[in-house]
């Protein structure tokens, strides 16, 4: 690896370290967060996400941010909600076990509509499982892990560059919709070193949360939404003297545990502010799908093998293509459905026993879906996927 030459001399207080760099996925994620304006990180050491914490611990103090290592992931999650309500973009990074511990407070973040980012560098589970091995086993947990009904946003990077880009995206989405946003990376993407191009600060698009326009008053309603169903966000210390609670609450933020109406209104809105804005949120990538007969649907690390498999197939004159969702949640099901109507079959490689494949099947209707599971150290090999493509072609 001969790339240190591309790295300019470190300027510690420089916020966006523009230029071409050779860094790991975890570091890219951290730099992305900083570029997006994250100034608060609370976390707890866990493989394979630890490097994000380590990098934040070094970088944040240099740029007047705060890194704190909490007593556990429960605390970390609570802390970033607090920081966000204090008006600072915040994030935490963890892996499976820690992700499980965060679930209750992720629910709190959803209920209190707290913009924040949770990075899960997935490893092999269940339980302590394989700390140093890749996996894609938490994608459903990300969707349904916390109790109660809600909609969530989750992004799946498959390269170090995307670790940078999608983390920025994650913050922007979180700020736009006042939701916790997940970055579902995996051990390989996290630990992999690649060349990354970090753009100039000014060319990076940054979104900040909407602020209330009315001055503080007794009638201020912190949870009264605009047309986009997202309420402007007041933060502590601005004089609004508002209240927020994990209890079912009205637009004033006051508990209304007895009212079915308030409950319906609130939970519906929490879901709809994602559903109704799905078009704006969903991100995906197509490769050679125009005339495809066989389509592979893959995300994260699995998508990398899938892409080379598709290329190899094309070399053998097999009309194959790739659909790569960048947002696993919300899931691009319209796109999959449209695709399913014009291909023979869909191939879904995942590093689990079948999770997103269910979403694909649900969208594909009659079109057959072939699933390629993978567990343990090795990700899919292009050949494994190519064989399946060949099989369909015949």
């Amino acid at each position: 690896m001969t790339t240190t030459t591309t790295t300019p001399i470190e300027k510690p207080r420089q916020i966006v370290r523009s230029g071409r760099r050779f860094i790991s996925g975890d570091i890219a994620c951290a730099e992305g967060a900083i570029a997006a304006g994250c100034r608060f990180f609370a976390g707890y050491p866990i493989t394979p996400a630890t490097e994000i914490a380590e990098h934040m611990a070094r970088r944040l103090p240099q740029i007047d941010g705060v890194y704190i290592q909490m007593e556990d992931e429960i605390a970390s999650m609570a802390a970033i909600i607090g920081a966000s309500y204090a008006g600072v973009k915040s994030m935490t990074a963890t892996s499976g076990p820690g992700f499980s511990l965060m679930m209750e407070n992720i629910g709190l973040a959803l209920m209190t509509e707290t913009p924040c980012v949770i990075v899960n560098v997935m490893r092999g589970g269940p339980s302590t499982g394989q700390p140093t091995m890749p996996g894609q086993q938490d994608v459903m947990q990300a969707r349904w892990g916390s109790h109660g009904d809600y909609e969530i946003i989750a992004l799946a990077p498959s390269s170090v560059q995307e670790m940078f880009d999608l983390t920025i995206d994650a913050f922007n989405l979180a700020e736009s919709y006042r939701v916790p946003v997940f970055v579902l990376a995996d051990e390989i993407v996290g630990h992999m070193w690649e060349r990354v191009t970090i753009p100039n600060a000014e060319s990076i698009k940054i979104v900040n949360r909407k602020k209330p326009t009315a001055p503080p008053s007794n009638s201020f309603a912190p949870f009264k939404p605009d047309e986009d169903l997202v309420p402007p966000m007041a933060v502590f210390g601005e004089g609004y003297h508002f209240h927020a609670t994990g209890l079912t609450h009205d637009e004033r933020g006051y508990p209304r545990t007895e009212s079915a109406e308030v409950q319906t209104q609130l939970v519906q809105r929490l879901c709809n502010k994602i559903r109704k804005n799905k078009q704006k949120i969903v991100r995906f990538e197509n490769a050679m799908l125009e005339d495809a007969e066989v389509a592979v649907v893959a995300y994260g690390i699995a998508a990398r093998a899938a892409l080379s498999a598709v290329r190899k197939a094309r070399a053998e004159d097999i009309k194959a293509g790739l659909l790569r969702p960048l947002t696993i949640w919300p899931f691009p099901d319209e796109q999959v459905a449209e695709l399913a109507r014009r291909v023979k079959a869909l191939v879904v490689p995942e590093m689990n026993c079948g999770q997103i494949v269910r979403e694909v099947e649900r969208a594909a209707k009659e079109t057959p879906v072939i699933f390629l599971p993978k567990l343990g150290e090795e990700p899919h090999k292009p050949e494994e996927i190519l064989d399946v493509i060949r099989g369909i072609h015949r």
């Binding site: 240099q62 909490m70 429960i74 605390a75 802390a79 607090g82 600072v88 209750e104 209240h243």
Partner: protein
């Protein structure tokens, strides 16, 4: 609601009063003393954040006319950590119960104290889980009766002031809700102190704890406080017992120690200067 002209109205969310607490509940007195403390220090209410957890006293954040947050069970201190570090200008006060802070939230308490995080923690200790109907908890005295100790409690209780002192709090005090004057002074002192301060308020739950333990009325519980409480400033917190006959109250710790916030700030300036 009517314009009552009550002097502490301005510290309350008028539209939320009367509160949900039962007749004679100590929580109201704690809120009262807190309001008085804010008044006497005439604090900038825009810079005060009240954070609470789950349980009867958890509702307190819904009544203070400040920015406030009602967190999940056991997590107010963790949440407050984020708030305080993100905006050091804010006075972050955690008001919560014994179960919330010391059972499910115990870990956060000891670590925040260890870090000497710049927050004030006021614990309403009513010896039980009131909101869920009176189960025993980490502070339930030995041999007392609750819905889940139908044969009397066989667990040892936490001595909260001892715990807080051991974890490194810079200010530790315990008062009963009858000692409103001292309690108010303590809250004022804590609010002006740098670092992690802890005030245990021995509070009454006449509705449940009282009924279960031969103190059927609010007055009877207050009589207990009146007869049993002794003030022993700076006595050994390890010996600060709470028994039917003796409630040791007073200030137990009042020391100076750089807070987490200060050390963080100093570290940042060191880094800045290096360049």
């Amino acid at each position: 609601m009517e314009e009552s002209g009550h002097p502490y109205e301005k510290f309350l969310r008028k539209d939320r009063i009367p509160h949900i607490w039962c007749e004679g509940c100590g929580n109201g007195i704690i809120l009262n003393c807190f309001a008085r403390a804010l008044d006497e220090l005439n604090m900038d209410l825009n810079k005060v954040v009240v954070v609470s957890g789950i349980g009867c006293i958890g509702r307190v954040s819904g009544y203070t006319n400040t920015d406030s947050f009602h967190t999940t069970h056991g997590r107010p201190i963790a949440f407050a950590t984020g708030v305080k570090l993100a905006n050091p200008e804010l006075k972050v006060v955690v008001i919560s119960g014994d179960g919330d802070l010391f059972a499910i939230g115990g870990n956060h308490f000891i670590h925040a104290a260890r870090r000497n995080l710049d927050i004030q923690v006021v614990c309403a200790n009513n010896f039980i889980y009131g909101m869920t109907g009176g189960q025993y908890g980490p502070t339930t005295p030995l041999d007392t009766w609750t819905t889940t100790t139908p044969y009397g409690n066989i667990e040892q209780a936490f001595n909260l002031v001892h715990l807080a002192a051991a974890c490194g709090s810079v200010y530790v005090a315990r008062w009963t809700t009858l000692q409103t004057r001292w309690l108010t002074e303590s809250i004022k002192k804590a609010l002006q102190k740098e670092g992690f301060s802890f005030i245990e308020v021995v509070s009454q739950c006449p509705e449940i704890f009282g009924r279960y333990n031969k103190m059927e009325t609010a007055i009877k519980m207050m009589q207990w406080f009146k007869e049993a409480s002794v003030v022993e400033h700076f006595s050994d917190p390890a010996k600060a017992e709470i028994t039917p006959h003796r409630i040791v109250t007073g200030e137990f710790v009042d020391i100076e120690k750089p807070s987490y916030g200060r050390l963080l700030k100093e570290m940042k300036t060191r880094i800045a200067e290096k360049k």
